[in-house]
């Protein structure tokens, strides 16, 4: 039985936290800032070979034959592999295994992996790729999701129903039609959300070593060590006990490193084949092809509300362009509907979402997986509802606030909920009441709200074991080492674990060492996705530390011959609460405990309580705690150039207890940056040939510092009853409502409703023309002349 202990939000010792709630550095911050941190590409092993991937130049084609003989004959080449070497299919979601490490019989997008070569250096490997002959039979390529929905010849995948539909979900809660009938106002419209990608600063990289003892070690820039471990065993048809997966320091992921990837299988296979270590580092272009980014969605929403602002029903229909493989698509299709049911309460909700395959780079989870797109559509629609009934946009959101300790229309349990405080914060900080609707033409304020999960109780493969595990080991020097399977992807999860253990044991943070994401050393954790790490790994860390603490306290109490209640671990010491002169260093306290209990150590774990609605898919999106966010954006529109500037963004995020407020603020700022980026600049798409429209950091327009709005972050601490000391997620939630808040600000500025992302200047000008802006009121404040 996995631990489901509720540790409670209170400090472990007395009334005050020693570590928690304070702005500590990340434990690996200095190593990263000084260049000492070891990333996958920093790994150099004796005799190491370099591998490269041959990719498909066709968007959709059958492979008639592949001839690698000339490549293998090239001096310096050690091995070449194709799909035949690894025919077992995989997929991060075990119900949809539709990927191969290398294409077996067909390719499904330009960039799909076809063969791999290991050679003495990258240049030789690249030269060898040129010598591989592939005979393709091109097929019709689907670039339009509507066509993929309507046409099934040819099929992209050999699906059960013989269509190009990847997943369809239809769920109905309450009386939707009656709710819309009873509404005083109904707003119905189409919305469109484009694709965007993660673009982490570190490209994917993997290194494999195959030892004489048969141990296969893979170092990979992954955010889910455990699933990679499982997938490697399955695809390589090699026992998992003989495979070790390690995640070195990682340079950003944002969801883009959540799937098992071709390069991981290829370096492993090539290492096994050659007996030499093998590294593969993807180019930036290859990272764009690997993608797994934001799904483009076409959304149709219909919202009914009464004159008093209360929502009566929501009806949604969503077409999701999944690209060429399933990836997390099953979950995406659910999330697109399931995660809309907060922070507002409404009695009726229906959604119908369909994900189709197309011949484009595969989509997957990007920060705010599946729920950023519906949130945009709905929050823009809610603004329009408010406009129609003449209600302030913040007020309508307050009016529909679901409150805490409630259940959503789709059966999700909501515990702590500080959304009302989030609204208060951004309303005050933006001077909303005196400025909204009253700024000069061309300037405006907009608001939006959102909710997100702190992990989900749906493990991607069904099992009742803990979702997170921790082991602690005590050294006689006074150092405590934490072993966690959690993946620190730059968000600081290893630091969070160190803070929690330090707090529980009264240790300085620098006396806690964290060993993470190594399947040989660390207990299983399901990885860094769905904003689960702080909540789940954090709870497991408290669980383990509390067990160790009890032993230390008991040993000290016994040595002092006092009741354990008198012993407190604080500031690196064990002290007697009733005798100020008595105290020993924690190191000595650990010695007493080791004498009494033998070698010290403890384990801790976390599993979610039973959650979710009692229907198929009811557990997908069911989270032990939800975070809440409100944004106000100030937008300036140059009505002559159509250029939008997000001048300032206020974001208040309810993350429960802020374990380190500095890291929370960093997550809020990063989320706002990313949200505004995809709203205004970034676009991940293919051209008319199915070729990526610009797979480089020059053509994929990520905003630069000069393009980034001023951001003011507010932390709202609703203190969750089940989170570690009351903490919830902070990494993904604060992205969601930035985009609709910007759209709503543009409406306040110039009176146009932008329903199609991204908000390019050309679209703004077209919308302005349609609206016929009042003459003589052009705003050109944004131009520096």
């Amino acid at each position: 039985m996995a631990a489901r202990d509720i540790h409670g939000p209170a400090p472990p010792w007395g009334d005050e936290f020693q570590v928690i709630g304070k702005p500590h550095r990340k434990i690996d911050g200095l190593a990263k800032a000084t260049g000492h941190a070891i990333y996958a590409d920093d790994i150099q092993l004796a005799g190491m070979l370099h591998a490269k991937t041959l990719r498909s130049p066709h968007a959709h084609a059958l492979i008639r034959s592949i001839d690698t003989s000339q490549a293998e004959a090239l001096p310096g080449v050690h091995a070449a592999i194709t799909g035949k070497d690894m025919p077992v299919r995989y997929g991060v979601i075990p119900w949809t295994p539709d990927e191969n490490a290398l294409a077996v019989d067909k390719v499904r997008f330009i960039g799909d992996e076809v063969a791999a070569v290991a050679a003495i250096d990258e240049d030789t490997a690249n030269a060898a790729l040129e010598l591989i002959e592939v005979d393709y039979e091109p097929l019709h390529a689907y670039l339009d999701p509507v066509e993929a929905l309507e046409r099934s010849d040819p099929l992209i995948h050999d699906t059960k129903k013989q269509t190009n539909v990847s997943k369809h979900v239809h769920l109905d809660f309450g009386e939707v039609d009656a709710g819309l009938e009873a509404a005083d106002v109904v707003v119905e419209d189409d919305y469109s959300f484009h694709g965007s990608t993660h673009a982490p600063i570190e490209p994917h990289c993997a290194v494999a070593q195959f030892g004489a003892d048969g141990l296969l070690t893979l170092w990979s820039s992954t955010q889910i060590t455990h699933y990679v471990h499982r997938a490697l065993s399955s695809v390589l048809e090699y026992p998992a006990q003989k495979i070790r997966v390690v995640q070195p320091c990682l340079g950003g992921a944002f969801g883009g490193k959540s799937d098992p990837f071709s390069l991981e299988f290829c370096v492993a296979k090539l290492a096994m084949k050659t007996g030499r270590p093998v590294k593969m580092l993807w180019t930036r272009e290859e990272v764009f092809y690997a993608h797994r980014g934001r799904h483009p969605m076409r959304l149709h929403y219909k919202t009914g509300a009464r004159r008093d602002g209360r929502i009566t029903a929501i009806d949604a229909r969503i077409l999701i362009d999944g690209g060429s493989y399933s990836s997390f698509g099953l979950v995406t299709t659910y999330y697109a509907g399931q995660l809309l049911t907060g922070p507002y309460d409404f009695p009726a909700y229906r959604f119908d979402s369909t994900r189709v395959f197309t011949n484009k780079p595969p989509c997957g989870p990007k920060r705010g997986h599946g729920s950023v797109q519906p949130r945009f559509a709905f929050e823009v629609q809610l603004d329009e509802v408010a406009e129609k009934i003449g209600m302030d946009p913040i007020e309508i959101r307050r009016k529909n606030f679901q409150g805490s300790n409630t259940e959503t229309v789709n059966g999700q349990r909501v515990t702590s909920n500080g959304f009302d405080q989030c609204l208060d914060k951004v309303e005050t900080a933006s001077d909303w009441k005196t400025r909204r609707g009253k700024l000069p033409y061309g300037q405006g304020l907009g608001v939006a709200g959102s909710m997100y999960i702190s992990g989900t109780n749906y493990p991607v493969y069904p099992n009742k074991m803990p979702q997170a595990g921790i082991q602690l080991k005590v050294d006689r020097s006074g150092l405590v080492t934490v072993f966690t399977g959690g993946n620190d992807i730059g968000q600081g999860s290893n630091s969070v674990v160190a803070y929690l253990v330090a707090e529980e044991l009264g240790l300085a943070v620098e006396h806690v060492r964290v060993v993470a994401a190594d399947t040989d050393l660390c207990p299983v954790d399901l990885g860094a996705y769905s904003s689960r790490v702080t909540f789940m790994v954090g709870n497991a860390a408290i669980d383990a530390a509390r067990k160790l603490r009890a032993q230390v306290v008991e040993a000290v109490a016994a040595a002092w011959e006092v009741a354990p209640q008198r012993v407190r671990l604080i500031g690196g010491h064990a002290i007697d609460l009733e005798d100020a002169d008595r105290g020993i260093e924690l190191r000595e306290a650990f010695h007493l405990a080791e004498e009494k209990f033998d070698t010290l150590g403890s384990t801790g774990s976390y599993n979610t309580p039973t959650l979710g609605g009692d229907y198929r898919g009811g557990t997908i999106g069911a989270s032990p705690a939800y975070s809440f966010t409100a944004h106000v954006v100030e937008a300036h529109v140059d009505t002559e150039t159509g250029r939008i500037t997000a001048r300032k963004v206020w974001c208040a995020h309810d993350c429960g207890r802020a374990l380190n407020p500095m890291l929370v603020a960093g997550q809020i700022e990063g989320s706002v940056y990313m949200g505004i980026a995809e709203a205004l600049l970034e676009e991940h798409d293919v051209n008319r040939f199915g070729l990526h429209a610009g797979p480089s950091l020059l053509d994929y327009r990520m905003p630069l510092s000069i393009d980034t709005p001023e951001i003011e972050a507010f932390v709202v601490e609703s203190i969750d009853p089940e989170g570690p000391y009351g903490a919830k997620e902070a990494g993904e939630g604060p992205l969601h409502s930035s985009i609709p808040a910007l759209a709503n600000a543009i409406h306040d500025a110039v009176g146009i409703r932008l329903r199609e992302l991204p908000f390019t200047p050309g679209k703004v000008l077209r919308a302005l023309r349609e609206k016929q802006a009042p003459a003589g009121t052009e705003s050109r404040a944004a131009e520096r002349v």
Binding site: D123, T641, L691, L698, R701, G762, L765
Partner: protein
């Protein structure tokens, strides 16, 4: 990361040594100045020179000086950062300082050079891509292919001149000094000085008239009229880094009575060569800057520019939008020049 093709790097310390290397290696050799354009282009296998001749160590190619005749002479290897912050350039050729200040980003401007920007290869979304990408496309007219993807069925490459300094220098009437190999038996330096307007040809594959083996050594900007004013306007998506989606340079000569005595506008990022907007002096000369009549004339000039400038799908993004911005940027840049302000840029 993408690998560079193999090449020999030569680093001559003098111009003569450099010229000898070009004479020796002919078309197998390419010069490298700051490398900010050539290096990515080589990684994309757009150029695969066997010998790369660095001009970085040739001191004679660097520096900004004002001659006794009031002429500005800028060594081709002077960095864009130095051009942008030079008070001599800011005073005598503000349009050039402004254009240089908006090229790429701050780090790239400390490597990129004025000569390199003048000699920049034309750019196109179907061309400035990796070898794998271009292979998947089936190549294009500019390199290795027979089809143009900008103008379908088009027989002429329309890759865009994308150098911000080119239109600026054109409005200033700059000349370019090239030095070629000294013919046998001669002792005098083989110099060729041409008006920058004469450099260009309307061919996106190679948009410059150059002689084999010669090196651009200096850019000369004649003394401008007493009331010279200039400004540069640049349209791009981001506030830094990006090449122009449209660029326009403006020169206004203004008399003591504030009336315009001469004017020029040059546009870039349209087709293969930067070009003057025609017939603008008819509208502007005689107008007093800041007057209503001047504003009306500026409006008419913006319309002329709109008629003459047709952005194409050679750059990423929306060509219709770029065209719509032509009159806006021309008008704003003219007003900026008139006011002694600029550059016109969205951040």
């Amino acid at each position: 990361m993408l690998r560079l093709p193999k090449f020999e790097l030569e680093e001559p310390a003098t111009l003569d040594e450099a010229l000898a290397l070009f004479a020796e290696h002919g078309s197998d050799a390419m010069p490298i100045a700051g490398g900010t354009d050539l290096v990515p282009n080589m990684k994309h296998r757009l150029f695969e020179p066997k010998v790369v001749v660095s001009l970085a160590r040739i001191e004679a190619l660097t520096g900004i000086r004002v001659t006794s005749g009031g002429e500005l002479e800028i060594g081709a290897m002077t960095t864009l950062a130095d051009v942008a912050r030079s008070s001599a350039v800011q005073e005598r050729a503000p349009v050039l300082a402004q254009a240089a200040s908006l090229i790429a980003g701050p780090q790239l401007r400390t490597m990129g050079t004025l000569g390199g920007n003048v000699m920049l290869d034309t750019r196109c979304q179907w061309y400035n891509q990796t070898h794998f990408w271009r292979t998947s496309l089936g190549y294009c007219l500019k390199k290795d292919g027979t089809e143009c993807h900008v103008v379908q069925g088009g027989g002429k490459c329309v890759a865009a001149a994308s150098n911000d300094t080119a239109p600026a220098l054109m409005t200033l009437g700059a000349t370019l000094v090239f030095q070629g190999p000294t013919p046998p038996g001669e002792s005098k330096a083989n110099l060729r000085e041409i008006a920058i307007d004469a450099l260009w040809k309307a061919d996106g594959i190679v948009n410059k008239h150059t002689e084999p083996g010669e090196i651009l050594t200096a850019i000369r900007i004649p003394a401008q009229a007493a009331g010279h004013r200039g400004a540069y306007g640049k349209l791009r998506d981001r506030g830094s880094i990006d090449f122009p989606l449209f660029g326009c340079a403006v020169r206004l000569d203004v008399g003591t009575d504030e009336a315009v005595t001469g004017a020029d506008i040059c546009a870039v990022a349209l087709v293969a060569r930067p070009s003057h907007v025609k017939r603008i002096e008819d509208e502007l000369v005689g107008q007093r800057v800041g007057s209503d009549d001047f504003a009306s004339a500026v409006g008419r000039v913006a319309e002329l520019a709109y008629k003459q400038c047709r952005p194409m799908d050679n750059s990423p993004g929306d060509a219709d939008y770029r065209r719509e911005m032509v009159p806006v940027y021309v008008r704003r840049t003219l007003h900026a020049a008139a006011q002694g302000a600029g550059p016109v840029h969205h951040v």
